[in-house]
């Protein structure tokens, strides 16, 4: 368990990746967090939501679900999805140490979000591991 260090340049890069794949299809919010629940980058309507609390809760939620998976003998639930009346939330593991949270409305099909997240995963990982 190390220390994550992000530079301005790296943040810009990460944000660009999120914007290219997710903001571009109209998601309300995308937040990349570390396993401790720290927010690394966020993009979208971040003024309207307490992203610090959201990051902590999403990390905890993910951790709890992973433990439940273990208890029932499932390897891992690598994706979490909650459906609301108008807002939906999609939470995915990015590599071993990071989590991506995406919030989007009913206007955007879940399949599209899934596809985009799948596509950007490796890009995020590459950028995160760059020195």
């Amino acid at each position: 368990m190390g220390t994550v260090v992000v530079t301005g340049e790296k943040i810009e890069k990460l944000k660009r990746i999120l914007d290219n794949h997710l903001t571009s299809i109209g998601v309300s919010l995308a937040i990349l967090i570390d396993e401790a629940g720290n927010e690394i980058v966020s993009t979208g309507k971040i003024d309207q939501i307490d992203t610090t609390s959201l990051a902590a809760l999403a990390a905890a939620n993910f951790g709890a679900t992973a433990q439940i998976a273990k208890l029932i003998g499932e390897e891992d639930f690598s994706i979490l999805y909650h459906k609301g009346k108008k807002d939906n939330i999609h939470i995915t593991k990015i590599g071993l140490n990071f989590i991506l949270v995406t919030v989007f409305t009913d206007k955007i099909p879940l399949g599209l979000v899934r596809l985009r997240v799948k596509q950007l995963k490796q890009e995020l990982l590459n950028t995160l591991s760059e020195q």
Binding site: T3, V4, V5, V6, I11, A36, S53, G63, Q67
Partner: protein
Amino acid sequence: MALINLNKREINCKIVYYGPGRSGKTTNLFYIYNAVSEKYRGKLLTIETRGERTLFFDLLPINLGKIKGLDIRLQLYTVPGQSHYRATRKLVLKGVDGIVFVADSLRKRREKNIESLIDLKNNLAEYNIELEEIPLVFQYNKRDLIEANIPLLTIEELENDLNRELKAPYFEAAAIKGIGVFETLKEISKRTVKYVARKYIFNEASKAQGGMI
């Protein structure tokens, strides 16, 4: 796992308040929340069952201001102390940078304090962290109850039970009245920031030498 954001010149550290059920962990956070001006704190997030027992965690983000030009941000977490929440405590410890162990001074809670410290040790071991290595501060809470003639453990007993080998700093406290709360926070912050900074500098140095950390 500390997060250092060179863009915003910010260090984020995670500090966890650990200890047996009802020792006063949540009370510490509430006191800090009420005493710190809004400018320096975020929202207090609590997940509790009815009757004020913590179910998952409490979280209070606070801003310590600048040290050497870097903004120091702390995420203060509490764990649920009741013994059956072991798995949950382990989750909250994920990425921890510093620990406050809040012990209950009530004599009848003696075993619970010891059990909780062992539980902490075991949970940390699963993340390959040793209690001896991570910043740690003890808080012996509820000292005010001495006036109510309730049997309390003496400081010597608490030290002997919990801190004999660790020799971490300790503070006497009455968290409900705010006594000792900021002293504890100050000490753990200082140690944690130092620890995180040292790890970071070490990483930088080994990178410069072509290390892979």
